[in-house]
Symmetry: D2
C-alpha cells in the first residue's frame, strides 16, 4: 500500500520547510563573494524574500534568523514578519566571527571568552522569547588546525559545560538542536565532528537537546539515511540543515548533487511517521526541515524555490514506496525485489501531484516560473541599490 493520489497531495501540501535569512543574501567562497541584483540589504528585506517564497510555495511559513547578522528590534521584526505572512523560526547564534573567537568559543582556554560565547547564546534565548521561536540552532565551529594545538578532552569538558549553561537557559517549551560537522573552519579536528559527538553531548544535556543533521557535513561515503534512522530510533533527531554537497560543505541547492540520497533520507522520515510506536512517530513529526544553502553563483530566490521543490519531490516520492510489499521482500531475502520497490517510487514523476498541492494551497503551479514572469526580479534589482547583506 502506498499513499493514494489525494493523500499524496495533502501530505505534500502539509509538508513545511523553513527558509533561512542568510539564504537570501550574498555569500561565496574564501576567494570571492559574487553579488546578484536584487539582493536584500537588511533583515527586513530578507524577511520580505522569505515571505515572497512562502506566498509562491505555500509551504515555508517560518524563517530562521542568525544573530548578529539579523540584529534588530526583535519585537518589531516579529510583527513585520507576521504582517508579511511568515513567522520567525529557529535562531542561530554566531559564535565564530568575532576576533575573540580566534582560538575558539565554547572551547576557548580563556574562561572570559567561553563566558562571552555562552552569553551570546543565552541572548538568543531571549530573542526566541520575543520572536516566538522555539528552537535554538547551535553550531559550534570550534576545532584545531594542528596536532597539539588543543587538548581534546579538556576542550570537551569546556564544551559540555558551556552548552549546559545555554541549555539550562531554555524555557521548558524550547529545545536545542546541535549541529555537527566534519571539518571547516578547522582542518585538523572539529570538536563536534560527527553525529556521535553531537548525540553524546545531547544525552548529557537533557531531553530537549537533539541532533541537527546538515546534509553537507559528513565524510564522503557516509550513509546519512542510516544516521537519520538511528537518531529517529533514539528520538534524538532534531532537524536538518538541507543543502547539496559533492566534495566538502558545498552548500549547494538541495538535491542538486544526488537527488536519490535526498529521497532515501525523506523515506526514513515518512517511514518513522508511520511507526507503530507513537513516540517514534511523534519524534519524526517534530523534525525541523531547514534550508541551509549559499547561492554563490546563481540567483538566490530561484535557487531557494528550486530547493523547496527538490524537497517536495523527494518527500512525495518517498510516500510512494509500498511498505507492505517492501517488508515482504525484506523478510524473504528478495534483494532485487526490495530495491525495485524503492526504485519504482523514485522513478515516478510526482510533479503533477506537486501542481495539485500548490493549487490546494492557493499558489501558482510553477513557483519559479511565476516568480520569473512576475516582474519582481527586475523590480527588486531596481529597488535594492547599495550594499547587499552578506555574512
Amino acid at each position: 500500500m502506498t499513499a493514494s493520489p489525494n493523500e499524496l497531495v495533502e501530505r505534500i501540501a502539509g509538508f513545511t520547510i523553513e527558509t533561512q535569512s542568510w539564504g537570501y543574501v550574498s555569500t561565496g567562497t574564501r576567494f570571492k563573494v559574487f553579488n546578484t541584483p536584487g539582493t536584500p540589504r537588511t533583515v527586513h528585506e530578507k524577511v520580505d524574500d522569505a515571505a515572497l517564497v512562502h506566498r509562491l510555495t505555500g509551504v515555508t511559513p517560518t524563517v530562521a534568523l542568525h544573530i548578529p547578522w539579523d540584529r534588530t528590534d526583535y519585537a518589531e521584526l516579529r510583527r513585520y514578519a507576521e504582517e508579511q505572512g511568515v513567522r520567525i523560526g529557529s535562531i542561530s547564534p554566531n559564535i565564530f566571527q568575532d576576533d575573540d573567537y580566534h582560538h575558539g568559543s565554547f572551547t576557548n582556554p580563556d574562561p572570559a571568552i567561553r563566558a562571552k560565547a555562552v552569553a551570546t547564546s543565552v541572548e538568543c534565548v531571549g530573542i526566541m522569547r520575543t520572536t516566538g521561536s522555539k528552537q535554538l540552532s547551535m553550531w559550534v565551529a570550534d576545532g584545531t588546525n594542528y596536532p597539539g594545538q588543543g587538548d581534546f578532552r579538556r576542550r570537551r569538558a569546556w564544551l559540555q559545560d558551556s552548552l549546559q549553561q545555554v541549555y539550562d537557559a531554555l524555557d521548558p517549551d524550547m529545545s536545542m538542536i546541535l549541529e555537527y560537522k566534519l571539518f571547516e573552519p578547522a582542518f585538523y579536528h572539529t570538536d563536534i565532528s560527527d553525529w556521535g559527538q553531537s548525540l553524546l553531548l545531547c544525552q548529557e544535556l537533557g531531553d530537549r537537546a537533539n541532533v541537527l543533521v546538515d546534509l553537507g557535513h559528513h565524510a564522503l561515503g557516509v550513509n546519512i539515511e542510516h544516521i537519520v534512522a538511528t537518531l529517529l530510533g533514539q528520538r534524538r533527531l532534531g532537524g536538518f540543515d538541507l543543502n547539496g554537497k559533492r566534495y566538502a560543505d558545498d552548500d549547494l541547492m538541495v538535491g542538486s548533487t544526488n537527488p536519490y540520497e535526498l529521497f532515501l533520507i525523506m523515506a526514513e522520515i515518512t517511514h518513522a511517521l508511520a511507526d507503530p510506536d507513537p513516540g517514534i512517530a511523534a519524534g519524526a513529526a517534530d523534525v525541523l526541515f531547514k534550508i541551509d544553502q549559499c547561492a554563490m553563483v546563481e540567483e538566490k530566490l530561484p535557487a531557494m524555490l528550486r530547493s523547496i521543490e527538490a524537497c517536495q519531490i523527494a518527500y512525495a516520492k518517498s510516500l510512494l514506496i509500498d511498505r507492505d510489499e517492501l517488508r515482504k521482500a525484506q523478510d524473504t531475502g528478495d534483494v532485487v525485489g526490495a530495491n525495485t520497490l524503492v526504485d519504482s517510487a523514485f522513478q515516478t514523476d510526482v510533479r503533477p501531484f506537486l501542481w495539485q498541492a500548490r493549487e490546494l494551497l492557493g499558489g501558482p503551479a510553477d513557483p519559479l516560473r511565476a516568480y520569473l514572469d512576475s516582474g519582481l526580479p527586475e523590480r527588486l534589482a531596481a529597488e535594492r541599490i547599495g550594499a547587499p547583506a552578506g555574512w
Copy 2:
C-alpha cells in the same frame, strides 16, 4: 617534562601487543590469495609463530583466536600455547562466513539464524573460560548492498537483542569489545558503521561492553585520535585492531601508510595514562592493542615484526611530548609552538631506546634481522609443506 631515557626504555619494554592467529596465514583480496613459503597449516603452527614473535620481541605475550578458523581442543591448545610461552588472548567469533549468513547474522530476518549467530558467540564465551581469555572481540559484518534491502530500525532492534544475549553470557571478569566498520562486506549500509553506532550499543549493553577501534574502518579524513580521546573520556575504549590503511580496509602493516597518525593515536593513550582522574588512567591502562593485518603480498612473520616495531616507535615517541610545555602553549594560543612540541617528539629517532628495551627483555636488538638470519625462514618453508591455513 618528558620521559627520561630510563623511563622510556622501561615503558617500551612494558608496552604489550597482542598478535592474532590469522595474521600468520595466507590472506588476500577477492581477486587472489597468494601464499608464501612457511605459512602455518594448523592452529598449533599459528601459535608457534606467535610464540616465536614473542621470543623475538618480548612484548607479544598473547595471541588472539578466531573461531571456527582455530577450532580445536581448546584446553590442549591452552597448554600448548603456555608451553611455547604465550597465552590465549581475545576470542573472535566468525558469524559471516556460513551460507546461513547470506542475509545477515544478528540482523537476519530469520530468528533461527539470529539464534545460531548468538549460539556461536556464546560458544566463544565457553572457549574463553577454557583458554583463560577475558575479551570477546565482536565484529558484526551485517549490512545491506541496496536501498530497501533492509529496514534500518528493525535490524537495529535485532542487533541489540542478539548482542545483549551474548553480553549476558559473559562472566563478570570478562568484557566485550565491539567493532565498527564503515563498509565491506556490505556496500550500502553497515549496521555498526562508526564509533557512534558502536558506543550506543555498548551503552545499552552494560559497563563491560566497550568500543573496538580498527584503524582501517573509518571514512577518509576522519580524525581517529579524536575518537580515541572521546572514548577514553567516556571510559569506553576497549581496544584497537591495528593495521595500515590508505583507501579502504586495506589491512596493511601497522604505520605503513601514515606513521604520524599512529603516533598521534598513541599520544592520546599515553596522555590518558597520566590523567589525574584515576578512572581515565585505569581505562587507558586496560586498552587492548591487537594487531589485525593481512600480509597479502609480503612475508608474514617479517610483516608482523615490522608492525610491532611501528607500534613501539609510535608509543615511545608519544612519551617524548613535553606535556607541561604543551599545555602552556595551548593555553596561550601559541599554535606553532604547540605543534612544534608534538613534531619535535615525532622527529626524534627512538630506535636506540627500542634496542635497549629489547636488551632489557632479553631478546635481540633487531628482531627482524635476527629472524631472517636464524635459518628459520628456510626451515619453516621446508617443513610446512602442504595446504597453508587461510580464511
Copy 3:
C-alpha cells in the same frame, strides 16, 4: 528541442549493452562468496544466461568473455552463442590470478613473467579472431602495497613495453580498451590509477588504444562525466565498465547508488552523438557499454535485468534534455535555468517509452517480471546442480 516520443523509443531500442560472462556467476568479497540457486556451472551456461537476457531485453546482443575463466573450444563456443542468438563481445585476459603474478604481471621485475603476461594477452587476440571479437579489454591489476616496494618509473617502462607488444599483435580492425583503477588489489599505488595514466599509455600505443571507464574505479568525489566529456573530445573513450559504487570498487547493480550520476554520464554520450564534428560523433557511436557487476547477495539474472533497465532509463532521460534551451541558459549565465532543464529531463518518468521500445523489439514489457513468472528461475535452480562457476 528534445527527442520526440517516436525518436525516443527508437533510440532506446537501438541502444545496445554488452553483458559479461562473469556477471552470471557467483562472486563475493574477500570474506565470503555466497551462491544463489541456478548459477551457471560452465561457460555454455553463462552464454545461455546472456542469451536469455538478450531474448528478454532485445538490447544485449553480445557477451564478454574472461580468459581463462571461459577457456573452451572457442570456435565451438562462437557457434553455440550464435545459435542462442548472441555474439561474443570483448575479450579480457586475466593476468592477476596466477601465482606467477604475486609481484605483478606487465610490471614484474622478472622478464619471464612479463613475457608470460604478454603471451596470455596475445593469446586473447587469437581468441578474438576465432570468436569474431573486435575489442581487447585490458585490466592491468599491478601496483604495490608499500612505499619502496616498486620503482614507479621502471615499472612504467615495463608496462608501456608490455602493452605495446600486445597492441602490436592486434589486427587492424581490432582495438584495445585500457582500464584504470584507483586501488585494489594494490593498496599503496596502482600503475594505471586514473584516466590520465591510461590516456598517456594509449597516446603512446597508437590510435586504436582507448580508455575504458569503470564507474567504480575513481576516488570519491571525482566527476566522471567530466572525464567522459574530455575523453570524447580527445576521441579516446573506448567504453565503459558499468556498475554501481558508493565506497570502493563495490561492483553493485548499475545506477543503484546514484542514478543521477549515471544519467549525467549518458548525457555526455548523447550530447557527443549530436556533435557537429563528425569525428566526435563517430567516436561516441563506437563507445562500448559493458556491464561489469558482481551480484554478491542478490539473484544474478534479476540483477542483470535491473542494471540494463537502469542504463536504458538514464540514456532515455538524457535524450530529453532540451539542448537548444540549455545552450541559451549557459550563454546567458542563467545557472538555475540551465540546471532546471537538466533536472526536468531527469524527473520525467521514461518507463512508458521503455515499454514501447521493448514492444518494438518483440520482447516483454517488463523483462524482470517476465523472467520471474516464467518458471525459469525454478527450472534453472533444479537443473544446475553442482559446483557453480565463480572467479
Copy 4:
C-alpha cells in the same frame, strides 16, 4: 649507498624553496579572516618578511608575487627586493576575483571576459620581464556548481585557446606552470581538475608548459608521489605548491598532516635527480618548490619557518634511502625489506644535518627560535599598525 654526512649537509644547503607573498598576510576561511599582530600591510612589507625568512634560513632566495594583490611599480619592487637580498620568483595572475569572472575567466561564454583574463595574464608576462621572473604560475579557478551550468567540451576549447594566447606571449626563456585542483571555488566540476587535465593542456600548449602539483588539490587517497614520478618521466613536472591538507584544500603548514607523504614525494625528486637519463635528471633539477599556505590561526612568520624546515627534513631523509639496496629488494620481491629501507631513512633524525647546513649558510641553527628571541615579533607588531594586507 646513501648520501654521506657531508654530502647531505651540502645537499640540504643547496635545496632552495620559494616563499609566496600571500603567505605572509592575513587569510582565512569563508567564515572569518583572523589577523595576527605584525602582518604586512604592503607588498614591500611582504618582501621584507620574505627577505627576513631568507636571512634566517638561507634557502628561500625568491618570493612569488600575485597580481593584482601585489600591484606596484615593479622595477622599483625588483630593486627593493634585491636590496633586501631576495629576487622576485614566479608570478601568478589573479583571474578569479573580479566581478567579471562571476561565470568564469578563460571559459567564460563572453569572449570579452575571456579576452580580459588573457590580457591580465599577458600583463603578468610583462611583469616577469621587469622583475626577472621566469615562471608564470597559472591557476584557472573556473568550473561549475551544477549539472548543465556549462558545456564541458565548449569550455575546454575556450580554455585551450585562452591558455595558448598566454603561452605564446612568453619569452623563450620563460615557462608556464599550470595548476590543477579537484574542487573549490567550483563544486560540481572544475575545468582543470586533475593532473591529467593539466598535462593534456600542456601537451597542446608546447614544451615550456608544465604541470604544477599543489599538494592540497587531490581527491582523498590519491597517491601524489606516483603522479610526481609520472610527470618527471614525461619531463612535465613544473613545480609544487607546497602545503598541508587533510580534508580539502586546507592550505596548512607543509608536512603538518602527513610528513611521511612529503618525504615520499621528495624521494621521487631525489631519485630522479640521480637518474641515468640526463633529461630526467635535468627536469628534476628545474622543479620549482613553492610554499603555498595560508596561516589562518597561527603566527605567519613562524608558520613559514616551520614549513621550510619540514621541506628540508623530508628532502634530507629522502637522500638517506639506500637506492642500491632498495633496487635489490625490489628485484627479488622482498617487500618488507624494500619498505624497511624506506622506513629506515624516514626514522632517522636529520635535524643535526639541518643545523650544520644552516651553519654552512651562515644562519642560525634554529631559525624559528632565533626569530622568536630576536625582538622582531614585538617590533613588527608595534610598527605595522593599520589594515593588514589580505586576499
